[in-house]
Amino acid sequence: MMRQLILLIATIVVAPFIGGLLFGIDRRITARLQGRFGPPILQPFYDFLKLIGKERIAVSRLQFVWIYAYLVFMVGSLLCLVFQSDFLILVFLLGFAGVSLVLAGFSTKSPYSHFGANRELLQIMAYEPVLLLLAIGIYAQNGTFLISEIFNQSRPLIFSLWPLFIAVLYVLTIKMRKSPFDIATSHHAHQEIVKGVITEFSGPYYALYQLAEWYEIVLVLGIVALFWTNPLWVGILIALAAFLLELLIDNIAARMTAPWMVRLSWTVGLILGVLNIAYIYFTKGVS
């Protein structure tokens, strides 16, 4: 019990540091890829501290409720992963978090916020089925949704679930809000919808949003790392490689449109996932 409490606190405290650091590295590497120096690696933390100290102005009362909800669900989802509980619950908590963000976007009157929220909904529509298929794939492979079972297996998931791994890389791009999928909001989606769903976020609330983003990046990379849990450091390396791959893709692609994203995700992602699961059931049924 004591060990679990320590793990709980450690997760809540350490995860944002890892996430913020990853964002700092992201900005630095992106800058280098574009031929710039880039900000200091600790810049996201400076931004966060500055935002926290700003005046609290909520455009609507509901907005900050939803932002807190987004943060709480995201932390819950991450705890699911750390405590190796049910993967299905993790996916649904992640879904709740996404919906909270959408509602935060809808709770203001700004049209840009609404456009962004609409697109965020489309994004959820695009990546949620893939994650669900991953859950089913894990179930098909291990006979349970429990993440702890993945750790018990000596054979890494990636061997049997590699098509789903490719699909999860799509999810990673969408979740990291990188080109070509940075349609709902991004560091530079200003051309179409200003800042999209987070246009009206400001001061401490925006800081909370960033905090949630840090949890999210750790969570999503953690899901990628699940594909190779024995030994875990290989999985972490795979996750970091995927992270670097996203940075590369971000810099060699233009932003695509929302319909294109949904189309790609539903065709390639779903087909890969369904074929993968069908193959597993097929081989299991035969043996």
């Binding site: 992106t30 890829l33 574009q34 031929g35 710039r36 049209p111 840009y112 609404h114 456009f115 609409n118 080109s179 070509p180 940075d182 349609i183 991004s186 530079h188 989606a189 200003h190 051309q191 179409e192 919808i193 200003v194 971000d250 810099n251 060699i252 692609a253 233009a254 932003r255 695509m256 449109t257 929302a258 294109w260």
Partner: protein
């Protein structure tokens, strides 16, 4: 299902750092109606031109536009000279052509970057602007300033390009050509770029003519028209033919500008090799006679019309400036309706709008 939202696109909007307002009505994410509203940046430059001495107009009109400032100063000088008319030395004409093409190079590089930014290709945007710095550097070395060159005076130019500078310019242009070659290749062939621009914002030849479009916007729709065909400055002695694309969509407009970039570099090389010896300026006394004239130059964005009327004094009777965006702005009315929200910035940027010079 379809809810209508009217979004004021500007006058303060991160997309366009220009004071234009487009009142766009969306149905979900589809544009159904658009009304352009300008007038946020009216500075009364035409009026000020009448109050100024004609010499001072050059520095005023250069500030009509921040990017095609060279062509503005060239036009105002040409218009004033045509009132007499003055006989300009050939070396001056060539120097003016070289600087004009240099300005076009940097403007097109800027536009290509901004256009890449319009569909979210940030790394491409930064690469184009990086190359542009080199062009600005040679402008500073030869003309004295990066953007506002202030090198034209009535009767000639103020600076000369000597042999050492000529060599620097040629070397830099070779580097610029090599580096932009790589990037333009990406821009033209990249799958994501193509899927965002091909078939977006199609304007037919007839529509472009009827709306009075100019410059790359017109040439992207298949009309071979260019003010450089009037052979002002040294263009009559250079090997020049306008670049035309026929598709009429954003991709075609982008290709026109990308090809014009290389054409501008070629024209500079050619002009530098043919640069004649001689005077660079003649003395001008008194004011322009009572006469009227039109000076037409090809700015990077399109044809620039200067109408000037003298009255024998050092002050002009009337100066009328028609900037390229003023002619291109009505095209928004047919480009935007029916397109998606995501294509709005791409469409608007494909016209290369410069609103502050539209309003003067």
């Amino acid at each position: 299902m379809a809810t209508r939202t009217t979004v004021p696109f500007g006058p303060q909007h991160p997309v366009l750092p220009e004071p234009v307002q487009l009142r766009i009505t969306y149905e979900d994410e589809k544009v159904v109606e658009v009304v352009p509203v300008i007038g946020y940046g009216q500075r009364g430059i035409e009026k000020a031109c009448e109050l100024n001495e004609y010499n001072k107009n050059i520095y005023l009109c250069e500030r009509v536009c921040g990017i095609c400032s060279y062509q503005h100063s060239e036009s105002v000088v040409l218009a004033t000279e045509q009132l007499w008319p003055l006989d300009i030395p050939p070396r001056t004409k060539f120097l003016r052509t070289i600087w004009a093409e240099m300005a076009r190079t940097h403007s097109h590089l800027l536009w290509l970057g901004l256009f890449a930014d319009a569909f979210g290709y940030e790394s491409m945007f930064l690469q184009f602007w990086r190359i542009r710095e080199k062009v600005l550097d040679i402008l500073e070395q030869t003309a004295g300033h990066r953007v506002i060159q202030s090198v034209n005076v009535v009767g000639g130019v103020r600076r000369d390009i000597d042999e050492a500078q000529k060599k620097t310019v040629i070397d830099t242009l070779n580097v610029v050509r090599r580096e932009s070659d790589d990037l333009v290749n990406v821009l033209i062939n990249d799958y994501t770029v193509k899927s965002r621009t091909v078939g977006v914002g199609v304007m037919t030849k007839a529509q472009a003519m009827a709306l009075g479009c100019v410059g790359p916007t017109l040439r992207g729709s298949g009309v071979s028209e260019d003010a450089r065909l009037t052979k002002y400055s040294a263009y009559g002695e250079l090997n020049y033919e306008p670049i035309v694309e026929t598709a009429g969509d954003c991709y075609a407009r982008m290709k026109v500008r990308a090809r014009e970039l290389f054409q501008a570099i070629d024209l500079q090389m050619e002009a530098l090799s043919k640069l004649p010896e001689g005077e660079i300026a003649i003395k001008v006394k008194g004011g322009p006679p009572a006469n009227e004239t039109v000076a037409r130059t090809e700015a990077p964005r399109g044809e620039l019309y200067y109408y000037a009327k003298g009255n024998g004094t050092r002050h002009l009777e009337r100066m009328k400036i028609r900037t390229p965006t003023f002619a291109n702005l009505p095209a928004v009315l047919i480009l935007l309706p029916g397109c998606q929200l995501a294509d709005v910035p791409v469409n608007i940027h494909s016209l290369d709008p410069c609103i502050s010079c539209t309003e003067r």
